[in-house]
């Protein structure tokens, strides 16, 4: 059987989640590997969410937020950008494939981009195979 990755999506309420909604209402097809969690802002994301997701068996984590400058709370995603950049460097230096973690800025009108990103990311994680390094046995 083909490996179907589990992907956690953490989406900001105002842009990416609405974008995903748009992708749904325009009936765009995208892989069903993504489980979306809605947060109010990308800066709500505690880096431990990402580590913990990997521990509990996620094969990839996709974080979506508003484009920098478009944040509903003006500056939230600018903090998130710095924070998630550090998360990425830490995963990389620990030897965990950085390809399993991705941050994308997707606005509410970009349903197409959302579907495209999910397709691409799922393919990428599929190629990386199951995530075993972090997972609790």
């Amino acid at each position: 059987m083909e490996f179907e990755p589990k992907i956690l999506g953490i989406a900001c309420n105002w842009c990416t989640y609405t974008g995903a909604d748009l992708a749904g209402t325009t009936r765009l097809q995208y892989p069903q590997n993504l489980r979306v969690v809605r947060v109010m802002c990308s800066s709500r994301i505690n880096p431990s969410f990402i580590f913990r997701a990997f521990q509990l068996g996620a094969d990839g984590v996709l974080v979506g937020g508003c484009h920098p400058g478009d944040c509903h709370y003006n500056t939230g995603n600018l903090y998130a950008r710095r924070r998630l950049a550090v998360t990425r460097k830490i995963l990389e230096f620990a030897g965990i494939e950085p390809g399993r973690f991705r941050v994308e800025w997707i606005s509410a009108s970009e349903g197409n981009k959302f579907a495209e990103v999910v397709r691409e990311f799922t393919e990428q994680v599929k190629n990386l195979g199951p995530q075993t390094k972090f997972k609790i046995k």
Partner: protein
């Protein structure tokens, strides 16, 4: 030029006596006698009669800034700091954990401290490699000049060359040995959260038993929490009973933060810590 430890000790005693007698401070944080010469202990001086117990020798590696956050706000404290420790004081002031006006910083320009476990000299390999405190009110001794200037990040070169699997094997091997004594957390001047994320049950952030996956969660999150704040004193790795080279990871994160955000932790009082700050012109490239 070499460091005269005895002279620094005498100066430390004189200054501590003066400050306590004048009533400028109620607490002096310094080093005191331990079991033997090699094991001096962090020492809190409250009375002038305690002053004779103060020592300062090359084994006084502990970072006294660790103890600053224990006292209620407004307590007047004098603190003896070595160069790396002074950065911790600056960082704590930036984070508003202590107030500049409550502190009297006794700076000690020093190098060539020794690790009491191995007897090795502590240099820029395990610490930030600066010779003079970045912040002080009273300088004990003379400023050090003419020592070789070395980058604290040189030691990373070999580890950055390793490939992904090499790094994974290395860190897995190192972190698997962790016995979760939390000495790294106790020794760290920047680890002051109460409760620590790993002690929380609701939500439970990580496994609490010393097993490989849980260790990974604890340490990676700790590295993340210290990103842009670690002042590279190397005290975590010296406190570690199983000698995990935690300083390597901290150095790596500090280096990345310095490259991405253009500031090192604890150098200027007026800076804001890198991760609670942003610039609109930060590039999206840092996420790739």
């Amino acid at each position: 030029m070499s460091i005269n430890f005895k002279q620094i000790e005498d100066k430390l005693k004189t200054e501590a006596r003066k400050l306590l007698e004048e009533g400028k401070v109620s607490i002096v944080l310094a080093y005191g006698k331990g079991y033997d010469e090699k094991k001096p202990m962090p020492y809190v001086v409250r009375k002038t009669s305690d002053i004779e117990n103060i020592v300062f020798n090359e084994y006084c590696t502990a970072n006294m800034a660790r103890y600053l956050v224990r006292y209620p706000r407004g307590t007047k404290i004098a603190i003896a700091v070595k160069p790396a420790d002074s950065r911790a004081v600056v960082q704590l002031i930036q984070e508003e954990k202590v107030k500049r006006e409550d502190l009297i910083v006794l700076g000690i320009p020093v190098y060539g401290m020794k690790n009491f476990k191995t007897g090795e000299t502590i240099d820029s390999k395990t610490t930030c490699g600066i010779y003079n405190p970045v912040l002080y009110d009273i300088l004990l001794g003379e400023e050090v000049h003419g020592q070789p200037v070395v980058s604290p990040y040189d030691v990373l070169v070999d580890y950055e060359k390793m490939d992904k699997d090499g790094r994974w094997t290395f860190w897995k091997k190192e972190l698997d040995r962790c016995i979760r004594c939390y000495a790294c957390r106790k020794a760290c001047p920047m680890c002051y959260c109460d409760p620590c994320f790993i002690d929380q049950n609701k939500p439970k952030w990580g496994e609490k038993s010393p097993e490989s996956q849980g260790n990974l969660m604890y340490h990676l999150t700790r590295f993340h929490h210290l990103a842009g704040r670690c002042i590279d004193c190397g005290e975590c790795s010296r406190a570690c009973p199983v000698d995990i080279p935690l300083y390597l990871f901290h150095k790596k994160v500090a280096k990345e933060c310095e490259e991405m955000f253009g500031q090192a932790a604890g150098m200027k009082i007026e800076d804001k810590p890198a991760l609670v700050n942003f610039r609109v012109e930060d590039s999206d490239k840092i996420l790739e």
